[in-house]
């Protein structure tokens, strides 16, 4: 890690007079094993590294990146970033982050045990996952994928303005996609588990999740068009949170592309809803001590009991908005920092998932959503997405439903929350969802 930081500092140290220079250096290692029919289908060992160099000079910004840490290429990359800066237009708000005195959270996100997992063990896990899925139900005809994977990543950022930080993290995951068939019909179901190390993964639960999600969809039919209460499963809620997080980005707000732009301090959601972005929460895979510009991360209250409390800012949007950066710069080495959420989470309610269903009475439990990236307009907030799931009748799960869409506007959806589950579930992108009941959603079907 100190090696990467040293490299970043050496690059940033080459700033010319009147020039701000930032180097972001990252390196990662990962392994994944995919099992198929009791054998290894593919075993991948990957190492990658890269550097991104940002230059700000005379109010202009230039950037270049390279997928290597080779010294010669780094020199070229720096020269290219300087050249690119000549062609951007000046903007008084451009500038690198400067140390702001906020102490980084104390987080241990790196588990040395991950590097010590023998390859044979990884192979075993993938094969066992596939076996458990296939044995889980007589209607399971196979798996599309059954995989184990792990990775370790480290990153350092240094600037000529005094930033010099580094961090590292590990992660492990299991993923299974089951195929269930009955009477010529095939359905799929996914099971996923993620964690910082092997101990936090649950093989049986991941397999069982894939099996039950696939088999319970057998016999699914279209439902008639209607308005009804929908209950989003935690992973579906998390997917919507990602989009809502985008609408709270300072960038969108400044550029007039957020429907929430002028609504700070107003009630924009049900009082049941509290939303934070908290990269200091080690339970999230999005947790980190620093953001992509090197500022210490902090807990950001976005919506508190329905009231809009804050937007997300990086250094640029904060300066331009006359605010303070919330340390919400996200990036890889191949891109300049941009505003994003690290670890969005809804404050869990007090009801179990079953109680949320009971409260819904009659409605639809949504187990998966498709077309989220084509069916949601994050500028207007309108959305229409394909869903599948199970009918809720008398507070209990009933027959499966497929090939229907639900539609609303995200602004309305936030207000229509009628129950928040206690069943917090962490997703691989760092977001945490809970069961969420929404009233009066329009469903299109037969």
């Amino acid at each position: 890690m100190s090696e990467l930081l040293g490299l970043a500092e050496r690059i940033a140290g080459q700033a010319l007079p009147g020039e701000q220079l930032e180097a972001y250096v990252a390196r990662g290692r990962s392994t994944s094993v995919r099992a198929y029919r009791g054998e290894v289908e593919a075993l991948t060992q990957a190492e990658s590294a890269g550097v991104g160099v940002r230059v700000v000079v005379d109010g202009r910004q230039g950037f270049a990146s390279a997928g290597t840490l080779d010294e010669g290429v780094i020199a070229d990359t720096l020269a290219e970033a300087r050249d690119n800066a000549r062609f951007g237009e000046p903007d008084p708000w451009y500038g690198l982050a400067e140390p702001d005195g906020v102490a980084p959270p104390s987080l241990e996100l790196y588990r040395p045990s991950v590097a010590a997992i023998p390859t044979a063990r990884k192979v075993e896990l993938a094969i066992e996952l596939e076996r458990l899925v296939t044995a889980g139900d007589p209607r399971i005809i196979g798996v599309r994928t059954a995989s184990y994977g792990d990775g370790a990543g480290e990153a350092a950022v240094a600037t000529s303005t005094g930033i010099a930080v580094a961090s590292r993290a590990t992660s492990c995951w299991l993923s299974a996609s089951a195929l269930a068939a009955d009477g010529g019909e095939t359905q799929t179901g996914h099971g996923v588990d993620v964690g910082r190390d092997l101990d936090s993964l649950d093989l049986e639960a991941t397999a069982a999740e894939a099996v039950s999600r696939a088999t319970r969809m057998l016999g699914a039919r279209k439902a008639p068009s209607q308005r009804l209460t929908v209950v989003l499963e935690p992973r579906v809620t998390a997917a919507f949170l990602g989009i809502i997080g985008g609408m709270l980005s300072g960038e969108r707000v400044l550029k007039g592309r957020s429907p929430f732009a002028d609504r700070l301090g107003e009630e924009i959601a049900s009082p049941l809803l509290t939303l934070v972005d908290d990269a200091t929460d080690p339970r999230s895979l999005g947790a980190d001590t620093h953001d992509g510009e090197g500022l210490a991360t902090r807990r950001i209250p976005l919506i508190g009991s329905g009231v809009l409390r804050s937007f997300l800012h990086d250094t640029y949007t904060a300066r331009r908005a006359g605010a303070v950066s919330t340390a919400s710069a996200v990036r890889g080495y191949a891109s300049t920092p941009a505003v994003g959420a690290h670890a969005l989470q809804i404050e869990p309610g007090t009801r179990s998932a079953a109680e949320v269903l009971a409260e819904a009475g009659d409605g639809l439990l949504v187990q998966s959503v498709s077309g989220l990236h084509s069916g949601v307009n994050p500028v207007s907030g309108d959305f229409s997405v394909g869903v599948e799931g199970l009918r809720i009748r008398g507070g209990e799960l009933a027959e499966p439903v497929r090939e229907v869409t639900i539609a609303s506007a995200l602004q309305r959806m936030l207000r229509d929350v009628v129950a928040v589950g206690a069943d917090l579930e962490w997703e691989h992108d760092g977001t945490a969802g809970v069961s969420l009941a929404l009233r009066d959603v329009s469903l299109s079907g037969s």
Binding site: A26, G28, S30, V40, A42, L43, T44, Q45, A46, Q61, F63, A64, S65, A66, G67, T68, F87, E89, D91, G142, R144, G149, D150, S171, W173, L179, T186, Q187, G191, V192, V194, R196, S225, R235, G242, S249, K255, G256, R257, P259, G286, A334, A341, S370, H373, S374, G375, V379, S380, S384, G386, R402, E403, V404, T405, I406, A407, D429, S442, S444
Partner: protein, 529 residues
Amino acid sequence: MATAVSASATISSASPDRPGSRGTRVQYDRRDGLGQRAQEPRSEPSGASVRFLRPGPSEGRRASGLVIDESVLQRALGAALRTGGDFAEVFVEDRRGTSAYLDDGKVEEVTSSRSRGAGIRVVVGETTGFAHTADLGEAGLLAAAEAAAAVARQGGGGTRAVALSARAVAPEGSVAIPPAGVAKARKVELLKRADEAARAEGGAIRQVAASYGDSWRSILVANSEGLLAGDQQVKTLFRVSCVATGDTGMQTGHESVGHTVGFELFERYHVDDLARRAARRALTKLTARPAPSGTMPVVLRSGGGGVLFHEACGHGLEADLVAKSASVFRGRVGELVASPLVTLVDDGTMSGEWGAISIDDEGHPAQRNVLIRDGVLTDFMWDRLRARQEGRAGSGNGRRQSYQHLPMVRMTNTYVLDGADDPDEIVRQTDRGVYVAQLGGGQVNTASGDFVFGMTEAYLIEDGVLTEPLREGNLIGNGPEVLRNIDAIGDDFAMGSPGTCGKDGQGVPVGDGQPTLRVTALTVGGTAG
């Protein structure tokens, strides 16, 4: 759970995209700030081929990447097979790109990227070992070969010598104006022209974003069967997104063009036209009414709905998914799976199109493959691995996102051939339905065939006439059902917008196209009550 996202297609993948590695978090960057789909190619268009370049002294100012001695490739292949693999392959890639982005009235930044490395795979039986390295020196290649060979450790292969013989690939098209030789100032100028043209469409246009991207990609494939093939691929892309503000709130309009060509793209397309079209789409939507809900006839305008076929059947015709029973089309070759009006083709040879390649990423020459002829399923698409398992020839559909990825079956340009109907007549003969002028992204569950995609420009058809514009809604349906329910196909074929197809977390550039056609019944998921 879709970790893969794309402009024209996505099939969801349950595999987390390497959590823990940096830069995979939820990101709302400036490039998708306009509701311009996050799934569209980001800064660097990537992908297909323009002309064949033999490894060795290279052409062009920037073509300096892939000079690797043949004997080094042979030693790497030998090392990969040392533990007893049946097949080994070295894939080398060098990629450079430039992009420029304008937003909020100013050119925010110009970005350059460079990436090169090699991916080495070893196949033993049904098992593949894969490792990649950014070190193209002999030591780096040998280390990656050893790592990939680890999957076959139980065997004992001994040293095998591999003789490489270059396969000639006919030059397909050529780059008239290599983007690398064009001054950055000219690229930036295009953005400003687009901004001005869009804003000139009216004061309701409040936001304009435009992006320019070019990429140069050189690949080299060597394998243990003696194949040695190379290619150079140049792509150029331009996109405009507008936000219009009115009584109904904010509405967006997009337009993009991308081709496997150089800077001459801008001789064929004028950025001000593109910008005006994007602006008008946004303005039209200000007066649009919510889309209706329910099942009804849908007419797709030529070039605006090819993604439907990419999703509705293209993915289901990929041999890897078929082999795993994850396709509704499994075991149905020779059967009538679509209306007899439908002939569906996947064609990597369409020179200059966004999904064009001259060789695939396994060194196989591009082909034109008829998948469905007059409604009858004729064949699937194949990569090397699946073709070998079935004892047949590949089809030129083995593609990968980069040297860091394993190849798998992917589409190139997927399209429906012309029919005999008059496009205007198709609309006139539709009493009530939806006319879709442009579709957005989509997603399919290949196992069930269920798909969904967004309409980005659509109108109501009433008594055979287009009436009101509709706000965004989704179309949802089932692939085989839609194919059977096509009852009219026009004679006005056109290709659609450039897309990136996501599958198992890998994105590759793809094209699609179709003539005007009608689906008798599709579910429209609108926002009207």
